[in-house]
Amino acid sequence: MFPLFRALVLRYLWQRWDRGLLVALSISLGVATLVSAQMLNKCVELAAMDSTVPADVADLYITNGEIGVPWSLVEEVKKANIPGIKRAEPFIIERVMLPEINGRSGILFGTSLTDRTPSDEAAADKLKISFQLVNNPLALIGKPVALSRRLYEDRKKLGKADTDPVEVRYTNNVLKFNLIAVIDIPKDSPIAPFADSLVAMDVKQATVLLRHTDLPRAEDNDRVSRIDFFLEPGADVHRIMDTLQQIAGIRSTVRTPEENRKSTEEVIGGMKIVLNMCSLGSLIVGLFLVYNALSVTVAERRHDIGVMRSLGATRTQIASLFAIEAMTLGLIGAIPGIPLGVTLANFAIDQFGEEFASIFLNGDTARPMLDRRTAIFAIVAGMITSLLAALVPAMQAASDEPADAVRRAPSNTGGIMRWVHRLACVVLIVAGLFMVAYREHLATHQGSLFGMTFVLTGLFLAMPILVAWMARLLIPLCRVLLGVESRLAADNLLRAPGRTGVVIGALAAGVSLMFQTAGVGKSHEVPIRQWLRQVIQADAYVFWGNLASANSSMTPMDPKIADDIRKIEGVDRVVGLRFYRPEFRGTFVMVIGIDAADYRRALRLRMPEGLPKLEKFEELPTGNFVVVSENFAEKWKVKEGDTIAIPGPHGPIDFIIKGVGKDYTWSQGTIFIDRTVFSRVFEDRLVDAYHVFFKLDQDREATYERVRTYTDEHQLLVQNQASVQLYLVGVVDRLFRVAYLQQVVVGIVAALGVVTALLISVLQRRRELGLLRAVGATQLQIIKSVIAEAMLMGLLGTALGFAMGLPMEWYLLNVVLLEESGFRFDMLIPWEQALGIGAVAIVTSTLAGLIPAIHAVRLNITEAIAYE
C-alpha cells in the first residue's frame, strides 16, 4: 500500500499543498484547544489534589476538612493498636511565612522527622525524597527543621549559615528552629509541586507553631490536618476502616485515598467538563471542515478515482487511500497543534497566577505541563478526527461505479446518502433532547452537557438542509434587489448546499459560541458588579499576604489586630472575616465567619435602603444561626427555617437557616455565621481579612493614611475600596477573557473553512466562470460574484449563529450553570458585543473571499471552458 500511498496521496498533497494546509490548520487549532484544555484540567486537578490531599501515599486517612483532626484522636488511635495497621502518622500541612527569606511563603509539612523507623523509610521511599544532613550541632538539642533544596539555597544566598536559626511565622506566632537537613525532591515525587517551598518539621512542633495561643488551654485544641495510615500487606481494609470510624465517632471521617480525592474532584468537575466541551467543540467544527475539504477532494478527483477503478483498484483500496490521506493530514495538523496548545494553556494560567497561588497551596509553582500521554492523545485525536471526517467522502469515492466516474455521469450514491444524512440529523437531535429531558437519571453533567453537544452536532449536520432552504428564500430577494453577480452567488449557494452548508455551519457555530459566551458573560457580569458595589463598602481592607489570598483561609491574622485598628482615629467599625471550607454532602462549601451585626450596621449607614439578607445578620450572634447564599439554597434544596449540619472539630454542628441572600463568593454555596459563634463552635479565633469602615464625618484620606502606618508597622497590607473593586472586577474580566480565547479559536477555524469552501467553489465553478468571461463578464464582475458568495455565507452564518446562540445562552444559564453552581442569573442579551461579533464574522468571510476571487480572475478562459 505504501508505494501506492506515496505515488497518489503524497504527490497529490505536495501539489495541492494549499488545500492540505487549510485542512491541517483546522486540525491544528482543534488539537490546540484540546491540548490546552487537557493541560489546564490536569494542572488544576493536580494543584487541587496537592492542596487537599498532599503527599497522597498512605493507605487510609482520617480527615475532617479544613478544621482538622484533634490531637487527642491521634493518641487514641495509636493506643488502640489495631491489628493490620503498620503505622499511624499524624500529618500537618499549612502555609507559613519565612521572615528571614524575604518574607516568602513556605508550605509546612508536620510529620515524624526525628523518630524515624524502618517503616517510616518506606513512606519516604514512596515520596521518592532523600535527606542530606547539614553540619549543625544545635539541631540535636533544639527544634529541628528541614528545608527543601531550593529554600536552602535561597537562604544561603542571603548569607545565612547552617547554624543560624530558621524563623517560621504563622499569624503572630514566630518560632525559631535549627536546620537539621536539606530535602532533595525529584521531579517524579508526589510532593514535587512543593519542591520550591517545603518546610518540614516534627508534627508536634508544627502543632505548637499553629496553636491558637489566645484560646484558654490552647494545647488542648491542637489539631492536625489528617492522620495517615500505612497498612500491613494483606490487611483487611474494611475491618480497619470500621474500627477506626468507631474510635473517631462523629469527630472525623475515615477514608480511602479514592474517597478522599472524590470531594475535590466534585468541586473542579464542572470546570473540567466545560473546558473539555470547549475543546470538543473546536474539534467538531474542525471535523466538519475537514469533511468538507475531503468531500471536495473526492469530487475533484472523482474522474481520477474512475481511472484507478478502471485500472483495477478495489473499493477498499480507494477508501483506504482517502482514509490514509486524511490521517496524514490529521498527523501533520496535530503536531504543530501541541505547542500551540501549550502556549494557550500557559496564557490562561498566566491570567490567574495570583488567584491560583491563593487558592492552592502549590499554586505559585503549578504550571501546565505537557506529558507524553496528553501529546499522544492529541495526535491520536487529530488523526481520528480526520479519519472520521474522511469516512463519508471515502465511502462515497469507493461506492461510485467506475463507468459513471470515467464518463463523468452523475453519481447514483447521492440519494441514499441524502437519506442517511437526514436520518443522522434527526437521531442526533432527538437523542440530545432525550438526554437533556432525562438528565436527572444520568450521571452528573452527562445529560445537560452531552445532550447539548448532541443537539448542536445534529443542527450542525443539518446545516446544508437549512442553508438550501434559506438560499431558496434569498434568491427571489436577490433577483429583485441585487445585480447579476449576487444572483449568481445565491444560485451557487442553492446548488451546492453540501459544500457551503458545512462552512456556514462552522461560521454559525463560531458566532453562536461567541454570542453565547458574551451573553453568559454579560448576564454574570452585570449582577456580579452590582453585588460587588453593594458588598465592597468598607473604606479599607487589611490582610496579610496579597489581595488574592485575602479571600481564602491561607494567611490568617491575629484577632487582636481588630482592637488596635479600632483605636485608630477616624475608624468607626472593624469587621473581621474568617473563611472555612468544610465538606458538605460530598463537596466543599464556603463558610464565612463574619462580625455580622457590625457589618450590617456599617452597611446600613452607607446603604439606607438596605439588603434583604443583611437584616437577618442582626440575628446571627444570638445562636447557631446562619444566612445562606441563594445558590446554596438552590443547589442543596434548603430554605429558611431548615437545619443544616456542618462538620466541626468534635463532630457535626447543627445550624438553623435564618435567611437566604445573594452572594457569588463560592460556586458550591456560601454560609454566613457570626464570627463569635464561629470562634466558639469551630474553636478558631483567627481572621483572614478585616473590612475597616471609617467614620463618615472624618477626613477619609487622613484616616486611611493612619491605618496604612499601622499596617506597615505590623507587616500587613491595606487596600482602599477602589483598588479592591478594581481587582475583583479584573478577576471577572480575566475569567471571561480565557473563555473568549477558546471561542476565538473556533472563530478562526470557521474562517479557515470559509477560505477552503470558496477556493473549492471557484474550482467547481471553473467552467461556469470561464463561460461568464467568454460571454463578456469583466474581471470585476467575477470578483464581485465570488465575494458576494462569501458575503452571503457570512450573512447566513451570522444569522444562524445568533439564532442558535440565544437558546444556547438561555440553556447554559438556566440549566448547565444553575445545576452546577445553583447561581440563578437573569438572561441579558449582549447587543453591543453581538454587533461586533456579527460585523467581524461578515467582514472576515468577505475578506476570505478575496483569495479565491483573485484565483478566479486568473482563469484562462479557453482552459476553463474545456474543463469538465
Binding site: M1, P3, L4, R6, A7, L8, R11, Y12, W14, Q15, R16, H303, D304, G306, V307, M308, R309, S310, L311, G312, A313, T314, R315, T316, Q317, E401, P402, A403, V406, R407, A409, N412
Partner: protein, 237 residues
C-alpha cells in the same frame, strides 16, 4: 475471448430511463482487432464498459475468458481489470499529479508490486511505445500524442489479454492519430491479446480486422475489414 450474450443495459438519467444497449450478442476472439462505430449516444461506449468489466449488464451475459462478469463480485472484477484488461481513453485519463512512468506503473502498484520493480516494468513498457525519453515528465508537459502513448504503455504494462480503447484518436491531429493507430494495430496477437476500439472515424476503424456498427443500442451491421486497411498501414509506415 470475450462474449456478450443477449446483453441489455438501462440506466436512469434524471427521471428518464435510457436503454443504452438492447439485446446485443457479440464475440471477440483472441488476437482480433475489433472496431465499434456508431453515432453519439448509440451505446458503443457502454458496450466497451461492459466488455471491460467497468459496468455490469442489466440482463444477459458478459463472458470474459470463461468468467461470467455479472456473477463476479466487485473485488473480483477489479482484480480482473487489473490483470487481464488494459484501457485507453479519448482524454488519455492520466493522473496529473504523477509522472509518466508513475502513471504507467499505477496498475502494478495497485497490485502490490514493489515500487522499484513496478517502475522498471513501466520503463520497459514506455520504451515499447517509444516514450522512454518522456518517462519523468508530468502529463501537463506532454503533447496529446505523447499522453496517448503513455496511456497505451499503461494499458500494456500488465500484459493484458484485452485492450479496450474508447476513441483513442478523438482528441489528436491526423498525423498523430495515424501513429497511434499504427501502434494499436501492432498490439493484438493470436492467443495472447485482442483489442476493441470504439471510434467515430471510419478511417480509424479500417485499421481493425472487423467493424461492428451500433445504432440505438443494437448492432446494425458488421463488416470484415481484413485487408481493407492495408493501404493505411503501409502509408503510416
Amino acid at each position: 475471448m470475450m462474449r456478450l450474450v443477449n446483453v441489455t443495459k438501462t440506466y436512469k438519467q434524471g427521471s428518464r430511463t435510457v436503454n443504452a444497449v438492447r439485446g446485443v450478442d457479440l464475440t471477440v476472439p483472441s488476437g482480433e482487432f475489433l472496431a465499434i462505430m456508431g453515432p453519439s449516444g448509440s451505446g458503443k461506449s457502454t458496450l466497451l464498459h461492459l466488455l471491460g468489466a467497468l459496468d455490469t449488464p442489466t440482463t444477459g451475459d458478459v463472458i470474459f475468458q470463461e468468467h461470467h462478469l455479472q456473477k463476479m463480485t466487485d473485488r473480483q472484477r477489479s482484480l480482473l481489470r487489473r490483470t487481464k484488461i488494459g484501457f485507453v481513453f479519448q482524454f488519455f485519463n492520466l493522473l496529473p499529479t504523477l509522472k509518466g512512468v508513475e502513471n504507467v506503473a499505477l496498475p502494478l502498484l495497485l497490485a502490490g508490486t514493489r515500487r522499484k520493480t513496478a517502475l522498471e516494468k513501466a520503463r520497459v513498457s514506455l520504451d515499447r511505445v517509444g516514450m522512454g525519453h518522456r518517462a519523468d515528465h508530468f502529463p501537463e508537459e506532454m503533447s496529446g500524442g505523447e499522453m496517448q502513448r503513455i496511456a497505451i504503455a499503461r494499458a500494456l504494462v500488465t500484459e493484458p489479454t484485452a485492450i479496450l480503447c474508447d476513441e483513442p484518436t478523438g482528441n489528436l491531429d491526423s498525423k498523430t492519430s495515424r501513429e497511434i493507430l499504427q501502434l494499436l494495430r501492432s498490439l493484438p496477437e493470436e492467443g495472447k491479446c485482442s483489442l476493441v476500439m470504439v471510434t467515430h472515424d471510419r478511417k480509424a476503424a479500417e485499421y481493425g480486422d472487423r467493424l461492428v456498427f451500433i445504432q440505438d443500442g443494437v448492432i446494425a451491421h458488421e463488416e470484415d475489414l481484413r485487408g481493407v486497411g492495408d493501404h493505411l498501414i503501409a502509408a503510416s509506415a
